[in-house]
């Protein structure tokens, strides 16, 4: 059960610059295939490793909308309800591949207390590290706004 009052109090305690817990996802080739099916996205770069490599990619590509969903988890996890997301933008900077370790880091940009609801805007960045390690590469970045209800 979600305690709306406690979530609103947590929102009011946030200040610009507050770091949120990191979220890590490691999508597999199966994740990419399943998401392509659920999205009905038959583009073979999401499930056909031979075609993906022939096109110059390291592995099958993680669908962009799946990255968006990872961001939703990162920005709303503390509220218990992903539907508290109100707005988000995402700039895709580089491909992410199956097997990558994706790190989603976020911090508070703004807090707007409207009395009966609180809006918290975050900035975030997704970076990837390949299955064999190596340098972290920025995959996507943007901002997202979460709204929670509850008077002070």
């Amino acid at each position: 059960m979600i305690d709306a009052g406690a979530v609103a109090a947590q929102a009011r305690a946030l200040v610009p610059g507050s770091q949120m817990p990191d979220v890590v996802r490691t999508p597999t080739r199966v994740s990419c295939f399943l998401f392509a099916v659920a999205w009905w996205a038959p583009h073979r770069v999401h499930y056909d490793i031979e075609l993906a490599r022939a096109e110059g990619y390291e592995d099958v590509m993680v669908p962009g909308l799946l990255l968006n969903e990872y961001v939703v988890s990162a920005l709303t996890g503390w509220t218990g309800d992903p539907l508290n997301l109100r707005r988000m933008d995402i700039r895709n900077l580089a491909p992410a591949y199956a097997g990558d370790r994706l790190l989603i880091e976020s911090s508070v940009a703004e807090v707007a207390d409207h009395g009966e609801r609180v809006e918290v805007t975050f900035q975030y960045e997704i970076t990837r590290t390949g299955p064999d390690g190596g340098e972290r590469v920025a995959v996507a970045a943007g901002r997202g706004t979460v709204e929670v209800a509850g008077s002070p």
């Binding site: 709306a4 038959p42 309800d81 895709n92």
Partner: protein, 164 residues
């Protein structure tokens, strides 16, 4: 492979500012919500468990926040796909090439429930043709608005795709 591109037709350029698609999609099913939740790894009870969702903040199952976009996909027979699996008209009719998803702005309004019928309207906002470091490219921006069967707003998105 997709044919070398990008190709932008005169008709596509003329349609900038116009509605390029208006379509109703099949009702949202619990099965589709579960498929989507399974694929994202977010097996949240608010999305997949009717009993738990009934006592949650929405009183019934709600679809994941961004699932509306996957509901609004036209199903195309395999024979009509391009060799790399892409739709011939991904993004907007008259623009072709190797497409990548470059970014998106999303505003969310009402949640999506099982049984909702979503209408999507797509408007072509711009086509920018330029020379990039790796060759010619076309940056296509579309605005999508999503409404439910009662006319209630679900979401608005601004989507940018790059065709090479």
């Amino acid at each position: 492979m997709a044919e070398a591109g990008p190709h932008v037709s005169e008709e596509a350029r003329r349609r900038i500012g116009q509605v390029t698609m208006l379509m109703d999609f099949e009702p949202v099913s619990l099965r589709h919500i579960k498929e989507y939740a399974a694929a994202t790894g977010d097996w949240n009870q608010l999305h997949v468990d009717e009993r738990a969702a009934a006592t949650g903040p929405h009183g019934r199952i709600v679809a994941p926040a961004l699932m509306f976009q996957t509901v609004c996909r036209e199903i195309i027979p395999e024979a009509q796909l391009m060799p790399d699996g892409q739709h011939a008209n991904l993004g907007v009719e008259g623009v072709s090439g190797r497409a990548v998803f470059a970014g998106q702005e999303i505003e969310l309004f009402e949640p999506v429930h099982v049984g909702d019928v979503i209408t999507m309207q797509e408007r072509l906002m711009g086509i920018e043709e330029k020379q990039g470091r790796s060759g010619a490219l076309a940056i296509v921006t579309t605005e999508e608005t999503y409404t439910n069967q009662d006319g209630g707003p679900i979401a608005r998105t601004l989507t940018t795709r790059i065709f090479r």
